[in-house]
């Protein structure tokens, strides 16, 4: 340690000054001898002298004692000398401390100049500009009024570096909208009934629909392969769903929302562990849950049975809760960051995008998980530069001497805590697949049938009225 050095530097001076001290010593001793019998309050002990020795200067300009008492005179001089010595030692110490601090600062600055506490940017890659453009557009979007179709298309198109044709996409959506409306007319469903619109949308996803003019639509299928988009991120996209007629729990609910917007139906996105689904209010005010990956009506108890929903998750409304417009916009920011990270990687731009998502929806579980990943990556990046091996406890302690690194660690820690507090628990892939499959079991099938008939019953009654 730096402080230990200070002590050692002082010692060499001792030898030099001892010679000069002898007169003082003798003088002092004499005092003792002559006045030894007189009871004086405090007799200077030999140790006192020794302490005084090291850096003592005999200064000629000592003010003589007016009483002329040699003993007092000696005592006083020694005291003054001591004071001077102490002052000088202190001065020296201060000087040394200053130098040491300067040195430490210099070292720290030198180190800091070479350590990056933020993730390296991918901004120099040409394709990232499309993401930055969409980010700007999202920032200009009114959280209460936006087009799901447009925003989602832009986000997917950024991944394809603006190579997709928006007009073509619009045309497909318009056609489907017209197809559904036509079918509703054929069935004589009320054109303003939210139940009817959602029921038709549900059928469009899950049944074969045929119009009198011969046009036909087959149900979408669930794509088991790489359903999380780990190998190929475009598996998550609506454009992929439309092109292949197969999709998963991200693309299917999104297409549902786009089509709901197209035919003016009211429907909402909701989350469950690793999953998203659709909720809509029927004309009666009752809420229905649609599981698009299986093309079935589901129930809260089915969702809860996954076994990975903690009560805290419901208290914080991270699952099974219809997203508001604001929260949906937040989800688009998260999707944008997700595509960017999949295509390029974690950097500070992705952190900024997620920051926006959390601003709009602080409890969003997906945004919070993404932020945790970014924070963890940043931490890893920093400790790698500091050459710290986190698996060894002594090594971990080294991080304490880097205040900025401690800050990075703290941020990551806080984020993990937040996720725990929100009631999140990790659901393994296998458990997720089992849960999705369990819907094909008898109980859920019955529930689906009952709900379907119930809804259909409502609409048939309406038809009679009409």
């Amino acid at each position: 340690m730096a402080y230990a050095v200070n002590v050692e530097i002082k010692n060499p001076r001792m030898g030099k000054n001892t010679k000069r001290l002898f007169p003082t010593l003798i003088f002092g001793m004499m005092c003792m001898l002559t006045f030894g019998q007189v009871q004086m309050p405090k007799t200077p002990t030999p140790t006192n002298f020794q302490i005084a020795t090291p850096t003592q200067d005999i200064t000629p300009n000592v003010v003589p004692n007016p009483l002329g008492n040699p003993y007092y005179d000696g005592q006083d001089r020694i005291r003054r000398q001591n004071e001077q010595i102490i002052a000088e030692v202190e001065r020296n110490e201060q000087l040394l401390a200053q130098q040491q601090k300067q040195l430490n600062d210099d070292i720290a600055e030198f180190n800091n100049n070479h350590i990056n506490y933020s993730l390296p940017s991918y901004g120099n890659i040409e394709g990232t500009k499309y993401y930055r453009e969409v980010f700007e557009k999202l920032n200009r979007t009114d959280p209460n009024k936006f087009s799901v179709k447009d925003l989602n298309f832009q986000i997917e198109n950024a991944f394809y570096e603006n190579q997709r044709d928006k007009a073509e996409f619009d045309r497909i959506i318009k056609n489907i909208g017209e197809f559904i409306t036509a079918k509703m007319q054929e069935l004589n469903y009320g054109p303003n009934s939210n139940s009817a619109k959602n029921f038709m949308l549900f059928q469009f996803f899950s049944d074969t629909l045929k119009l009198k003019n011969g046009t036909e639509h087959l149900p979408f299928k669930y794509d088991f392969e790489d359903y999380m988009g780990i190998k190929d991120y475009s598996k998550m996209f609506v454009t992929k769903l439309l092109a292949t007629q197969t999709g998963q729990c991200h693309s299917m609910p999104l297409l549902y929302l786009i089509l709901a917007e197209e035919i003016n139906a009211e429907a909402y996105l909701a989350y469950s562990p690793n999953h998203s689904y659709i909720r809509f209010p029927a004309d009666s005010g009752k809420w229905y849950d649609i599981e698009l990956t299986n093309g079935m009506f589901s129930t809260p108890s089915y969702v809860l049975q996954s076994g990975f929903i903690k009560s805290e998750a419901l208290q914080h409304k991270i699952y099974m809760h219809s997203l508001s417009n604001r929260q949906l916009l937040s989800q688009f920011y998260t999707d944008l960051a997700g595509g960017y990270i999949a295509k390029y990687g974690y950097d500070e731009f992705s952190a900024t995008v997620i920051g926006k998502a959390l601003e709009l929806y602080p409890n969003s579980i997906i945004a919070n998980l993404t932020k945790a990943n970014i924070d963890a990556n940043r931490l890893q990046y920093v400790i790698q530069q500091l050459d710290i091996d986190p698996s060894i406890p002594e090594e971990r302690d080294k991080i304490r001497s880097h205040p900025q690194a401690v800050e990075v660690l703290r941020e990551a820690d806080c984020q993990y805590n937040k996720i725990d507090n929100l009631g999140y628990t990790f659901m393994p892939d296998e458990a997720y697949q089992n849960w999705l499959q369990s819907m094909k079991e008898q109980k859920s099938k019955q529930d689906n049938q009952t709900i379907k008939e119930q809804l259909k019953g409502f609409m048939d009654k309406k038809q009679l009225k009409n």
Binding site: P300, S301, Q305, S306, I309, K310, S311, Q315
Partner: protein, 346 residues
């Protein structure tokens, strides 16, 4: 004759004073709970529980013997902590060790040595007779659990919380329909449940799948919320009111309403307290002679019930409750928290 009359008067006055004395005990217990809510008295769950039980037992609670009993279990838990049986290395291991030791004391057979002789502490059992305290409120008491060594979903978690308090760690009570259990949050597992009636750590789906918990009830914290100390006092206030109703079935509802209101103030979405308040109001309306006043109050009562329904509270039939409670044993594999392998019994 005169003598007889005097005896008579003396006898009745005696009766009056004892009755008044018990009523005073209820008032005292209420005052204690209320002052803990107002932070005028330091929170002490043991004191709070025993005050409600003592009021019901008309001052006959042997606190000395109970304290001795509790001290024994606390010491037993401490010696388990000292023996370091748990494999758990996170920052909060000291606390988790204590929780685990309480669980062992309550749900496991624990051998121990006293003056070089081996003894065995047996786990607390579940008492299937009078689960809801219909015959006697005493069935629900911690004092009864400590003497009989058999308890139910009220006395077991209460004792757990008392032992935790003695060991200087937190324990959160949590509610399910007709049920109380324990919740903890650890570094490794996040929030997890401890179920004392069957000695298992169940996942939340066990309660969610009971079919009597509406999603709204969970979202609003009616059920499955980790209750803080003040909310736990609210539980005791409702117990106190129920005990009062059992002793004085013909009361005018003033004391009961006072308890319910204070409980609701401390824990606004407390289903049982809301129900108790509504039912007491209903009883009062039935007694009301003025028809106009009665119909006015009835409209208010309807609103009360509507509010209870809206926050997601549903009543669970008693037989259903028992089936559900047993389901934890029969379907253990489905509902056991697999993450707690370090603690789970083999």
């Amino acid at each position: 004759m005169k003598k007889y009359l005097i005896y008579c008067i003396l006898f009745f006055s005696c009766f009056c004073t004892t009755a008044q004395k018990q009523e005073k005990l209820f008032e005292q217990s209420y005052a204690l709970l209320d002052s803990m809510l107002e932070d005028k008295t330091a929170f002490n769950f043991k004191k709070a529980v025993f005050s409600t039980e003592n009021a019901y037992l008309n001052g006959k609670l042997d606190t000395r013997a109970l304290n001795k009993n509790i001290a024994f279990y606390t010491n037993l838990a401490k010696s388990i902590v000292a023996s370091k049986t748990l494999v758990y290395g996170e920052k909060d291991r000291e606390t988790v060790n204590k929780w685990f030791s309480i669980f062992q004391v309550m749900c496991d057979t624990v051998p121990f040595y006293l003056k070089e002789r081996q003894y065995i502490s047996k786990p607390f059992g579940y008492d299937f007779t009078d689960v809801f305290g219909h015959q006697s409120k005493e069935s629900l008491f911690v004092s009864k659990l400590l003497t009989n060594h058999k308890g139910n979903c009220r006395s077991l978690p209460y004792l757990y919380k008392i032992l935790a308090e003695e060991l200087g760690v937190d324990a959160n009570l949590a509610l399910a329909p007709n049920h109380v259990y324990i919740k903890h949050k650890s570094e490794r597992h996040g929030w997890y449940n401890t179920e004392l009636t069957s000695g298992i750590f169940p996942i939340d789906a066990w309660i969610m799948a009971s079919g009597f918990v509406h999603v709204d009830a969970i979202t609003n914290g009616v059920y499955m919320k980790a209750l803080d100390n003040k909310e736990s006092i609210a539980l005791l206030l409702v117990d106190l009111a129920n005990n009062y109703n059992a002793i004085y079935p013909e009361n005018d509802g003033t004391f009961v309403l006072k308890c319910a209101e204070t409980a609701i103030k401390a824990y606004p979405h407390f289903g049982t307290a809301l129900i108790l308040r509504a039912e007491t109001h209903k009883k009062q309306i039935e007694e009301e002679k003025d028809n106009q006043v009665a119909s006015k109050r009835f409209t208010l009562l309807e609103k009360e019930y509507q509010h209870i329904h809206e926050i997601g509270y549903r009543n669970m039939p008693e037989q259903m409750y028992l089936n559900w409670l047993v389901s934890l044993k029969t379907e253990r594999n489905k509902y056991e928290n697999k993450n707690l392998n370090t603690i789970n019994k083999k």
